[in-house]
């Protein structure tokens, strides 16, 4: 064995060991945390509570799944919750005016798809930085929502709530929708050439281009998907709370969606992340809020604690990724 091989080997052994330690530590910490909750607040594990966490996180989870696509391709989409809110408001407005569910659903999806395509074009064809492009869409959507709703709450048709917001057997419609999205998106991302191309673009866009991957087209498709997810989330959310208003997307939601993706293992730099991770991220975020409410902590403190936890998780993950790389 020459010295070169020796050092490579030594380096590898070192990084693997470090990686394993990190994984082990995180699993132990996680289990300890869950056990601690079981002792302190057993009601957290009540079926009804868990099921309500699932239902509450479904909209964020669906949006985070769309966000994952954009982030894996190396971009970021700030506009998802705003697009969701705008399409929800316009959908509710359409339904109120026409008394027709189909038209309402159509309006929701049309708006979401259009804005998704707009984001895609701005980024892929014109070459605007994704952060800026989607921020513009976000501001635009927020403004337009205000105009449409005039700061009031627009109720949706009862039939719409019944269709998309009730229980089918033991499952809430939102959960079914979330699971279907999860399965389809996870499949597309990990099993198809399309998905592989997205990872390729996020890892090294120039190489992807030189390999003959149509980077522009795929980036548009990626933003289209995140738009569609915003539309689906709008349907789920408006049906659950049976009205549309500006409160659909509070200022925190936009960050919740990105946080869910990052907590779930995606990277701002692109190239990594899975849809499953985004869903787990969404559950962690909502579970945490739920838990803190159980402890009787007020909203503002919850935000502070949430921030601290995210910092911890992302630091941990970054350190781990660096250790793996060496």
């Amino acid at each position: 064995m020459n010295i070169k091989e020796y050092f490579t080997k030594k380096e590898k052994a070192f990084s693997n060991r470090k990686d394993k330690n990190f994984l082990l530590t995180s699993v132990i910490l996680g289990v300890l945390f869950l056990v601690a909750i079981a002792i302190a607040k057993p009601q957290f594990y009540a079926f009804r509570n868990l099921s309500s966490i699932l239902i509450q996180s479904s909209a964020v989870a669906i949006m985070a799944a769309g966000q994952i696509y954009v982030m894996v391709s190396g971009g970021i989409d700030l506009s998802i919750p705003s697009v969701m809110m705008l399409s929800g408001c316009i959908g509710a407005y359409t339904m109120r005016e026409t008394e027709n569910i189909m038209l309402g659903v159509l309006a929701i999806m049309m708006i979401a798809i259009l804005l998704g395509l707009f984001n895609g074009f701005s980024v892929a064809k014109i070459g605007i930085n994704p952060f800026v492009a989607t921020m513009i869409t976000m501001i635009f959507s927020n403004g337009l929502s205000l105009r449409v709703t005039k700061s009031t709450s627009i109720p949706v048709l009862p039939k719409f709530t019944e269709l998309f917001g009730k229980y089918y057997g033991p499952f809430h419609a939102n959960i079914i929708m979330m699971l279907v999205c999860l399965i389809i998106l996870q499949f597309l991302l990990t099993k198809t050439a399309f998905g592989r191309s997205i990872y390729a673009i996020g890892t090294n866009e120039k190489t992807a281009q030189a390999c003959g991957i149509k980077t522009g087209k795929i980036k548009i498709q990626v933003f289209l998907i995140s738009g569609i997810m915003a539309g689906l989330a709008a349907i789920a959310l408006t049906a659950r709370i049976s009205s549309s208003s500006l409160s659909l997307a509070s200022d925190g939601t936009s960050l919740d969606v990105i946080a869910a993706a990052i907590v779930g293992g995606a990277s701002i730099k692109g190239g990594v992340g899975t849809v499953l991770g985004a869903l787990i991220g969404a559950f962690i975020i909502n579970g945490l809020s739920n838990l803190l409410v159980l402890f009787g902590i007020d909203y503002y403190t919850i935000q502070i604690i949430k921030g601290a936890v995210f910092i911890f998780i992302t630091w941990f993950d970054t350190i781990r990724a660096n250790a793996r790389r060496v």
């Binding site: 050092f7 281009q209 991957i213």
Partner: protein, 504 residues
């Protein structure tokens, strides 16, 4: 006790993932000496320079400057040791004036009440410029001056900082002949001023001409040290190569083969101007020019990776007829090996198997990606290209340079196209891998592939190409047939010393 030299670097080590870039390197130099450091790409000479300049930090080893142990961890330390590096491509701020660039480290000395005193700045700048005999207006914006003049800025900058050790990293690679002569004169003057000059290059004739002593590096080690007066060119060559290496020569005759690719009137102002050429089946066509001559841009424009202003590309279709083809389509059908594998050649954080199948995803997609097939295929290519890796899951970033380059080649070959565009096929790989890659290229040509090759290495053009097109300022200025290819001729043509008949 032996006499201490002014500068000593002892037992330096530097590790990169999978590479021992500097292996126990000891290099010493004394004042008033021009030290040549020579070696092939990837021998570790640039790593050594970058370490001295503080751009990277060595893992082990000591520097002694003026007899004192010194630590160089970053550019600041390096500046304090009065070391200045003249980069291969000058590091300049292209929207600032020449004078501002020269005094970029000392601008605060020219500042009074928060304002830069331009009059004094310009005066001093012309003083330094005339010191090195450079005729540049200090008020000029840097983006308007030539590459050679940018280099003068860096040299002036080194003088301003009163550098004792001046490092030159392949300074002549993009200079015209006059500029080169001027540079040699300046190096001579630096020597007279009792400075240490370290000169990296892979041109032996330059070493023989200006250096007093030469250090040969190979695979991260110092493998030889010669006083220039008692060494012959031949000895240096053997020292650099390390061993007798099989030289691959492409010898087949392709005179009556049909044309498979034809480029007409390709323009992308100002980097590509009116480019016309054709490639025959089984032919290796070289594009030769200096760095920045537009050779890479020609290929990128053909493949529509850059947007050409005008130009038509024809490709021979199945029926044997030349047919107009769009750049995107051509990119799908041909193989493109890029110039810089770090920039746009590889997915560093992906395993080998994903890298190899990436140009060819559709072939492996049967409703879902057939990962098993991809892996089997990657293993097959790993064998065929003799890539040294334990299995197909190894991340590409942990491979050594030559194996990375082989992965890039494997991806292109695996596509099984009939046209290859290969930009710098052997950049930064050692001599054995080089010969292996050359063999592959000749094999491809023998199988009837048309190959457009860009290479900075003269030998590669001499040994492999059936024809060489000379590129200067984005234009194809001459064509040299195989029988006429010679070192001197290629050098002269690309610098515009000799004019040749234009290619029709």
């Amino acid at each position: 006790m032996e006499k201490r030299m002014y500068f000593e670097a002892r037992n330096l080590h530097k590790y990169y993932p999978g590479v021992h870039a500097l292996n126990n390197v000891t290099i010493v130099a004394d004042k008033g000496e021009v030290l040549g450091i020579i070696g092939i790409n990837g021998a570790g000479k640039s790593t050594f320079m970058n370490a001295l300049a503080g751009e990277i930090c060595i893992d082990k080893g000591t520097y002694y400057i003026d007899g004192k142990e010194t630590i160089i961890r970053n550019q600041n330390d390096s500046g304090k040791c009065r070391i200045a590096l003249i980069h291969q491509e000058a590091v300049v701020f292209k929207d600032m004036t020449v004078a501002e660039n020269i005094f970029i480290y000392n601008l605060n000395k020219y500042t009074k009440a928060g304002r830069i005193q331009y009059k004094r700045l310009f005066e001093d700048a012309s003083k330094y410029l005339s010191m090195i005999g450079a005729d540049i207006d200090p008020k000029e914006i840097v983006k308007n001056i030539t590459i050679g003049e940018k280099q003068m800025i860096e040299i002036a900058r080194a003088l301003v900082r009163d550098a004792e050790i001046v490092l030159f990293d392949e300074p002549t690679s993009s200079l015209s002949l006059d500029e080169k002569e001027n540079l040699f004169r300046i190096i001579g003057e630096l020597k007279q001023k009792n400075k240490i000059v370290m000169y990296i290059t892979h041109f032996i004739d330059e070493i023989m001409r200006i250096c007093d002593r030469t250090v040969v590096m190979r695979d991260g080690c110092v493998t030889g040290e010669f006083l220039n007066e008692d060494v012959t060119t031949k000895e240096l060559v053997t020292g650099i190569a390390g061993q007798e290496v099989e030289t691959i020569v492409n010898a087949t005759d392709k005179r009556d083969k049909e044309i498979v690719l034809k480029v007409e009137n390709l323009n992308c102002y100002p980097v590509v101007r009116n480019v016309n050429f054709a490639v025959k089946k089984g032919e290796i066509l070289g594009l030769w020019g200096l760095l920045g001559s537009g050779r890479t841009e020609i290929v990128r424009n053909i493949l529509a990776l850059d947007k050409p202003d005008s130009g038509i590309v024809y490709k021979r279709n199945n029926k044997g007829i030349l047919e107009k083809i769009s750049g995107h389509k051509l990119l799908e059908e041909c193989a493109y090996v890029t110039e810089d594998r770090h920039l746009d050649g590889l997915f560093m954080q992906m395993p080998i198997w994903k890298n190899i199948s990436m140009a060819n995803l559709k072939k492996f997609e049967h409703f879902i990606m057939d990962e098993q097939k991809e892996r089997d295929y990657a293993l097959q290519m790993i064998n065929e290209m003799q890539i040294k890796a334990s299995d197909e899951n190894v991340l590409v970033e942990t491979l050594s340079g030559r194996n990375q380059q082989k992965v890039v080649m494997a991806r292109s070959i695996g596509k099984n196209p009939d046209i290859f565009f290969i930009d710098e096929p052997t950049r930064g790989v050692d001599i054995n891998a080089k010969s292996f890659i050359h063999k592959k290229i000749v094999e491809l040509a023998e199988c009837g592939c048309a190959i457009v090759m860009i290479s900075s290495e003269l030998e590669e053009n001499l040994n492999l190409c059936d024809r060489v097109l000379i590129v200067r300022n984005g234009e194809i200025v001459a064509e040299v047939a195989k029988k006429d290819i010679s070192k001197q001729k290629l050098m002269d043509l690309c610098q515009g010393i000799r004019e040749e008949v234009k290619y029709e």
